[in-house]
Structures are given as structure tokens and as C-alpha cells.
């Protein structure tokens, strides 16, 4: 194979300087992205380890692997670590940090030092969370429902609350950085409708991060105050209302699920056009649907509380609004599918992950319609149906999108190509393992198995055994990419500037890019996704 002769190792952001200090005190958005990559991967495997323990416990109806309290701590910390320390930062902090300046032709984010502060806040929160987990953990569920969390739990609720409070600010600062960068630092000619839709998705995500996260910050402050000073804000025996906590908590936590899924949608919206060699279908609708998801996401939070005791009429209002928020997601799915029409589709690893994403996200979104229907929600909320629904969106959607994005931009990040066949194999394993893990849980949910159960009636065992089997396959599927990504850092083929023939400013600079991203500030005079005048990569080099 004619490998393009790569000039001797040019100076780029990786080899510009070495040493711990050059990494820990860097203000280069690309290095901060790698710092985030390492730290969230660490937390991803901790959360995954907890998940495996939970699944092992649920192999048998009786509670015979761990005690009840330990199991309660396992699912609580699985939830908290995965939500606050992996899903929310994953794509924005890693791919977003790396690519937002590159895609809009800027030299760096608007506030590089604040970007580093955001990582340090994340690390401080992470260390506090690790300390909390190692010295006793917390057993309130990731939702911290009162009055259990404020009055009845004797675990380290204050410490976990403070850790998540600090990680919230890391998320706010990332959002703030992105909004200002996208508004103020676009290269000349990069108008709003020439922006890659990855940028639109991150713009919408940042709106939610900015306007939602402070509310959970203040709620956690009130919980910590109530627990430390025995106030009565959420304690019903002292005049407080536990439902007020749920309102304030879900006001953030529902938009937070859109923080987790929107970036993955952005990633898929970049991958599908590239591997179909086609312009995205309906650019404006896809862009506007991201913003619509961000705004409508704030209208629907009480659909988590239909049986919690809220009034009948407000339940009707929130159910209707929840159907409103489903429409933009449907638009996106249809547009991705329509993009493939009359394309020239290649089945590289990123595209396989994109197929997986569209399929699983469609099923996740449709089961969301079940949960928004009031009659069905009464039966299936707080059961494994809900667990399956949000894992289809989070693991099937967000994590698939994250892995797809990692494969798609890995040549740009590391300057090396990952092994293609291994990549496809891991995509297949993840898809199979995922479905085997979570589809049985839909049936379990409708059968009525409640969530967070340490032991369960024997008739649910078969489906739980299937789910546990699937989880082991899924674990292997996730380990594979980490292995061959590390392997490719050393032995992977050197990556050219644009291995996929993709459109976007990040592919016009070298791989890996120089510290200041571009030799000369680019001037954009072409429309987004103009694949008609980008040559597809020669067949020879990219197998199949």
C-alpha cells in the first residue's frame, strides 16, 4: 500500500514540550481535552466495575453476593459516578474541548485558564468522591431523595453532595467557555449556517449546562444545610415538603439527560454525512432541533414525579409538554436516515457506531413515549422499564456516540490510525452485549420488578441472568477500544491530515494539529458538509 510519506516528526501540540508541568499547567484546549480523556476514562471504569457487581448480585433472586447496604451503595455510586463524572463531561469536555476551537477556526477557547480551572474543579470533585466512596460511600440513590437523604440515611451524604456540587461548576465553566467561543471567536466567513452541526449541538448543550446546573447546586446546598443544621426545608415532620426537593432536583436532572445525549447527536451528525459522502439532510432543521431540545428540555421535568404525589392537573400539563420534547429527537433520527439516501456509504468503525447509535437511540426515544403516557407511567415508573429506557439513551446513545466520535477523531487527536478490523469487531461486540443486557429489562419492567432491588421474586430470574450475561459482553466490548487506542499511540499507522476525506476545518490542519491549531487563521468560503468537492479517500489505503 502506498503510504503517504509523512515528513519527519513535525512540531505539534503533543511533542511541543514534555514533563508533568507542561501537562498539569497547560492552557492548550487540546491538552486539557486529553487530561479530561484520561480522568473520565478512569471514572468510567470505576462506574462500570460497580455496574458489573450489581449485575452479578442480580444473578440470583436472593441477596447473596453483597449485603443490602453494600448493594444500595453500589447502585448509588454507580449512578453518581456515571452521571456526574462520566456522561456529563464525556463528549463536551473531551471531544468538545478538542474540536470546538478547531472546527470554528480559532486558536483556542475564549478563556483558556478557566478551561484549566474547569478540569481542576473536576479533579477536586473526583478526589472528594473517591474519598467518600473509600470511606463508606453513600446509599441514597443518585437522586438524593429527601427525607431519606437528609434525615434517615447515616452515610456520607454531605461529602457526596459537596463533590457533585463542585463537579457542577466544572460543567458550568465548560458550557460558559463554549458559548463565548462560538459567539466571539469564529474564523472570518464561518457564519452560523456554515457551522458544523457538532458545534450547534454543543451550543445547545452549553445552554443547558449554564441554566440548569446552578439549580442543582443550590438544591445540594440546601440538602447539606438541612442535614448539618437539622433545618426543616425538605423534612415533612417539620413543615417542609419532600416534593419541593424533587421539583428542584428534576428541574436540572432532566435537562441534564439532554446534556448527555445532545453532544452524541452532534458526533453522529458529523459521522453520517462523512461516510455517506453526502450533505446532511435538512441542515437548518437539525440545527434548530438541537436548540429546541435544549429549550423544551426545561419544560418537562415533573414527568419523573407522576406517582410522587403532584397534583393531577400539573401531571397532565407535564405529560403534554413531554410529548413536545419528543418531536425534535424524531426529526433528528429521520434526518440522519434521509442523509444516507443516495449516498456512497462506507462501513468504517465510526459509521458502525453511528448505525448503532441511531438504532438504539430510536428504541430509547420510543420507550420514552411509553413513560410520558400517564396511564403506563403509573405502572412502569420506578421499575426496570425505566432503567432500560434511560440506559438505551445513555449507554446505547451517548456512549455509542462517544466511542464513534473517539474513533472518528482519533487520527486527529493522536496522529495515529486505530486498527480498523479490531474497531469494527468492538463495535459489534458493544452492540450485541448492550442489547442482551438491556432489552430483557424492558420485559422485567413491565412484569413489575422494581428498581434498586437487592433481592427479587424468583420468577424474574431468567431475564436477570440474560441481562447479567449481556453485561459481561458489554464490559469486554468497552475494554477493547481502550486497549487498541493505547496500542495505536505507539504502533498505529501515521495518520494523514484528512484520513476520512471529511469536511470541516479540523481536517484542514495537520494531525495532530500544532499548538496554535492553524498556520494561518483560515477563511471559510464554503458551505457546511460540501462533500461534492471533497475527494473521497483513495480506496486502496482505507480497506473497504
Amino acid at each position: 500500500m502506498a503510504t503517504a510519506v509523512i515528513a519527519p516528526e513535525r512540531e505539534n501540540y503533543l511533542n511541543q514540550e514534555y514533563g508533568i508541568k507542561s501537562w498539569l499547567l497547560t492552557v492548550d484546549h487540546k491538552r486539557i481535552a486529553l487530561l479530561y480523556l484520561v480522568s473520565i476514562t478512569f471514572f468510567f471504569f470505576i462506574g462500570g466495575f460497580f455496574a458489573l457487581l450489581i449485575r452479578l448480585e442480580l444473578l440470583t433472586p436472593a441477596g447473596d453476593l453483597v449485603q443490602a447496604d453494600t448493594y444500595n451503595k453500589l447502585f448509588t455510586m454507580h449512578g453518581q459516578v456515571m452521571v456526574f463524572f462520566f456522561l456529563i463531561p464525556s463528549i463536551p469536555a473531551v471531544l468538545g474541548n478538542f474540536l470546538v476551537p478547531l472546527m470554528i477556526g480559532a486558536r483556542d477557547l475564549a478563556f483558556p485558564r478557566i478551561n484549566l480551572l474547569s478540569w481542576y474543579l473536576y479533579i477536586i470533585a473526583g478526589i472528594l468522591m473517591l474519598h467518600c466512596m473509600l470511606t463508606g460511600g453513600v446509599d441514597t440513590g443518585w437522586t438524593f431523595y429527601t427525607p431519606f437523604s437528609t434525615a434517615f440515611s447515616n452515610t456520607k451524604v454531605i461529602e457526596a453532595g459537596l463533590a457533585i456540587f463542585i463537579s457542577g461548576f466544572s460543567s458550568i465553566l465548560t458550557g460558559l467557555n463554549f458559548v463565548v467561543t462560538i459567539h466571539r471567536m469564529r474564523a472570518p466567513g464561518m457564519t452560523w449556517n456554515r457551522l458544523p452541526l457538532f458545534i450547534w449541538a454543543h451550543y445547545a448543550t452549553s445552554i443547558i449546562q449554564l441554566l440548569g446546573t446552578p439549580v442543582i447546586a443550590v438544591t445540594l446546598v440546601l440538602v447539606v444545610l438541612e442535614r448539618a443544621l437539622h433545618l426543616g426545608i425538605f423534612d415533612p415532620t417539620r413543615g417542609g415538603d419532600p416534593l419541593l426537593f424533587q421539583h428542584l432536583f428534576w428541574f436540572y436532572s432532566h435537562p441534564a439527560v439532554y446534556i448527555m445525549i445532545l453532544p452524541s447527536m452532534g458526533v453522529v451528525t458529523e459521522i453520517v454525512p462523512c461516510f455517506s459522502r453526502k450533505r446532511i439532510f435538512g441542515y437548518n432543521f437539525v440545527a434548530m432541533s438541537s436548540i429546541a431540545i435544549a429549550v423544551f428540555g426545561f419544560l418537562v421535568w415533573a414527568h419523573h414525579m407522576f406517582v410522587a404525589g403532584i397534583s393531577l392537573y400539573s401531571a397532565l400539563i407535564f405529560s403534554a409538554l413531554s410529548y413536545l420534547v419528543a418531536v425534535p429527537s424524531a426529526i433528528k433520527v429521520f434526518n440522519w436516515t434521509a442523509t444516507m439516501y443516495k449516498g456512497s456509504i462506507r462501513f468504517s468503525t465510526p459509521m458502525l457506531y453511528a448505525f448503532g447509535f441511531i438504532g438504539l437511540f430510536t428504541m430509547g426515544g420510543l420507550t420514552g413515549l411509553f413513560l410520558a403516557a400517564l396511564g403506563i407511567d403509573v405502572h412502569v415508573t420506578d421499575t426496570y422499564f425505566v432503567i432500560a429506557h434511560f440506559h438505551y439513551i445513555m449507554v446505547g446513545g451517548a456512549v455509542m456516540g462517544y466511542l464513534g466520535g473517539m474513533h472518528f477523531w482519533w487520527p486527529k487527536i493522536s496522529g495515529r490510525m486505530y486498527p480498523e478490523s479490531l474497531g469494527r469487531f468492538s463495535a459489534l461486540i458493544v452492540f450485541l452485549g448492550f442489547n442482551l443486557t438491556f432489552f430483557p429489562q424492558f420485559i422485567l419492567g413491565y412484569l413489575g420488578m422494581p428498581r434498586r432491588y437487592w433481592q427479587y421474586p424468583p420468577e424474574f430470574q431468567v431475564l436477570n441472568v440474560l441481562s447479567t450475561a449481556g453485561s459481561t459482553i458489554l464490559a469486554v466490548g468497552y475494554l477493547l477500544p481502550m486497549v487498541y487506542f493505547l496500542w495505536s499511540m505507539r504502533y498505529g499507522k501515521l495518520a494523514p491530515a484528512n484520513p476520512w476525506g471529511a469536511s470541516g476545518l479540523e481536517w484542514t490542519t495537520t494531525s495532530p494539529p500544532p499548538t496554535f491549531n492553524f498556520e494561518h487563521t483560515p477563511v471559510v468560503d464554503w458551505e457546511a458538509y460540501d462533500y461534492e468537492n471533497i475527494p473521497a479517500p483513495e480506496e486502496a489505503r482505507v480497506a473497504g
Binding site: 415533612p236 415532620t237 393531577l312 430510536t362 412484569l447 421474586p457
Partner: protein, 332 residues
């Protein structure tokens, strides 16, 4: 080991039928939409896979298509919303005249008490074919009363009543779960709902060690705690006349009008200062902490029995207010 391997929950109540109908409709709808999307992806992937010399044809998009696949889902969603809301509305409005069961949830057990007085722990015996309304409260944290076979679930909040109801249609033994995480033994806080044929139910009822119906227990508490000194049944007592109070609107001192439901009676017993009936002085002592949940339930049952028409009392002996003839009470 896998003796039973059900794939569909038992259907043992009227709401179960309607919930299943909507569920099956949604499953078929989702299956169709998913099938459509998946087949389209597979067909496009195969039909338009990369072939030498065949370039992709750029398509900008079509607003007409975008509008159609926004508006059509919206219509379908409206249909689903209305259908779900109708079921929910029925589930949240218990029918009149249902037999009442007072449920007290406590960290990791269910204490149930029938109107006729039977007390049960983690078990509920109900006859087929009669509406059962549950009045739920919790002594500590939030629990959730969940019977999958009846498709009903209702969070049980400490400090107030929540209600749920069902109409059992099939005899049998069904699971009772706690569905809201409540601590260590959350998964141990389970029980059984035993639906009996009416004949068997009467046998069980008589066999049970009923120490007098809740209303009669409530009446004893009413005398014991001295409520009858102020709440007399002729009209000039220092407290409002409670006969015929339940379910009626009550005019408050600060102008608001509230309906006297279970929560109003409970709040008026525990924290009387919250809502003062107009024309009365706030002299009622606070009973918060002096009355246990069971005693409170008995008092509420007694006050409710005062307003049931003398003949219509469901099952329990009719309680004729002592002394005063039951003339039409003047409700302010």
C-alpha cells in the same frame, strides 16, 4: 430452578386492562417505527454502499418532508397523551362508596387496616368485584405502594395522605412491592394482595380478630381525647360540628374555601392553626406527636363515618351521634 417464567404480568384489575391496551398499542407503534427506520437504514446502506465511479448525489433537504415528519408524530403523540391521561384521570379519582383500607408504610413493612377493623401486616385480603380505596401515609421516608397485577402505584408520603384505588377482577395472590427506594430493606418491604371470592372473604372477615371497626375505635378516641367537649353535635359547641363535614366545602377564617378531605381532617388534628374555620376561635390544642398514625386513621375514619348517611355506611355499624337527633347540620 426456573419454575415459572412469565413474560406478561397477571391482569387482575379493571385498570390493568386499559393500561395493557395502551401498552400494546404503543409497542406495535414503536415496532413499526423502529422497523421502518431500521429497514430504511439497511436498504440505503446496501443499495447505496460505496461503488467505484458512483458519486453520491447531494440533496439539500426538503422542508415539506421535514414538516410532515414533525406534524404526523405530533398528532400521534396527542392521541397517546389523551389516551394516557384518561387512564390516569380514572386512576387518580377513587369511586364513591369504595371500601377503605388505611395503609401505614413504615421502614420496611406495610401495616394495613380495614374499615371493619381487621389489621394486617404485609398482606391485604380483598373480595373480588368491589372497589377498594387505599388511604396511604408513611411514618418515616417516602415509600411507594405498587401492585403490578393491578397496574397501580402511588408514592406514600410522610406527613400527608395519598390515595390509590383498584377494582379486583380475578381471585388470586398478587405481589405487593415498595417501589420508591427507602433504605436497607427496600427490597424486603414486599407483601401479598390476596383477592378472595366474596364467600371466602366473608369467612376470612368473620374469622379475623376484628376488635371493633375503625369508626368505633375512632369514636372511643374521640371521647378519650376530649374532642367531644368542643365538637358537640348540636350546633353551639366551641368547635365546628363534624356531622356531615366530610367531603363538603368549608369556609375558612382568611376567606379561602377548602374541601374537607382526609388531608384537611388530618391537618386540622395535627396542626389546627393552619386552617381555622370562619366564626371559630383558634383554641384547639395541637395533637402533633400525641396521636399515633393508627389512632389518627381511626379518628379520620370516625369523622368520615359521621357524614355517611345513616343507612349507607359501608359495612360498618352505623354510628348515630349520641344524643342530638341527626337533623341537617349547618355547615358554615
Amino acid at each position: 430452578m426456573f419454575d415459572t417464567f412469565p413474560l406478561w404480568p397477571a391482569r387482575a384489575s379493571t385498570t390493568a386492562g386499559s393500561v395493557d391496551a395502551l401498552f400494546i398499542f404503543l409497542v406495535t407503534l414503536s415496532a413499526m417505527v423502529s422497523a421502518a427506520v431500521f429497514t430504511m437504514i439497511v436498504v440505503f446502506a446496501v443499495r447505496y454502499r460505496r461503488r467505484r465511479g458512483v458519486a453520491a448525489e447531494q440533496i439539500e433537504g426538503s422542508t415539506a418532508l421535514e414538516v410532515t415528519w414533525s406534524v404526523i408524530p405530533l398528532f400521534i403523540f396527542v392521541v397517546i397523551f389523551v389516551w394516557g391521561a384518561v387512564i390516569y384521570f380514572k386512576e387518580r379519582t377513587p369511586p364513591r362508596g369504595a371500601t377503605e383500607v388505611y395503609v401505614v408504610a413504615k421502614q420496611w413493612m406495610w401495616k394495613l387496616q380495614h374499615e371493619e377493623g381487621q389489621r394486617e401486616i404485609n398482606e391485604l385480603h380483598v373480595p373480588v368485584g368491589r372497589d377498594v380505596k387505599m388511604i396511604l401515609t408513611s411514618q418515616d421516608v417516602i415509600h411507594s405502594f405498587y401492585v403490578p397485577a393491578f397496574r397501580i402505584k402511588q408514592d406514600v408520603l410522610p406527613g400527608r395522605y395519598t390515595t390509590a384505588w383498584f377494582h379486583p377482577t380475578k381471585a388470586g395472590i398478587y405481589h405487593l412491592f415498595c417501589a420508591e427506594y427507602c433504605g436497607t430493606q427496600h427490597s424486603g418491604m414486599i407483601g401479598q394482595v390476596v383477592v378472595l371470592e366474596p364467600a371466602q372473604y366473608e369467612a376470612w372477615l368473620s374469622g379475623g380478630g376484628a376488635s371493633g371497626s375503625m369508626a368505633s375505635n375512632g369514636q372511643n378516641m374521640f371521647q378519650q381525647l376530649g374532642c367531644s367537649t368542643c365538637h358537640r353535635f348540636d350546633t353551639q359547641g366551641r368547635g365546628p360540628n363534624l356531622v356531615g363535614l366530610f367531603g363538603k366545602p368549608v369556609q375558612l377564617e382568611d376567606g379561602r374555601v377548602v374541601t374537607a378531605d382526609e388531608n384537611y381532617i388530618r391537618e386540622s388534628i395535627l396542626t389546627p392553626g393552619a386552617k381555622i374555620v370562619s366564626g371559630f376561635k383558634p383554641i384547639m390544642p395541637v395533637f402533633q406527636g400525641l396521636v399515633s398514625e393508627e389512632q389518627l386513621n381511626a379518628l379520620v375514619a370516625y369523622v368520615k363515618s359521621l357524614s355517611q348517611s345513616p343507612t349507607g355506611a359501608a359495612g360498618g355499624p352505623t354510628v348515630v351521634p349520641s344524643g342530638a337527633p341527626p337533623q341537617e347540620p349547618k355547615v358554615q
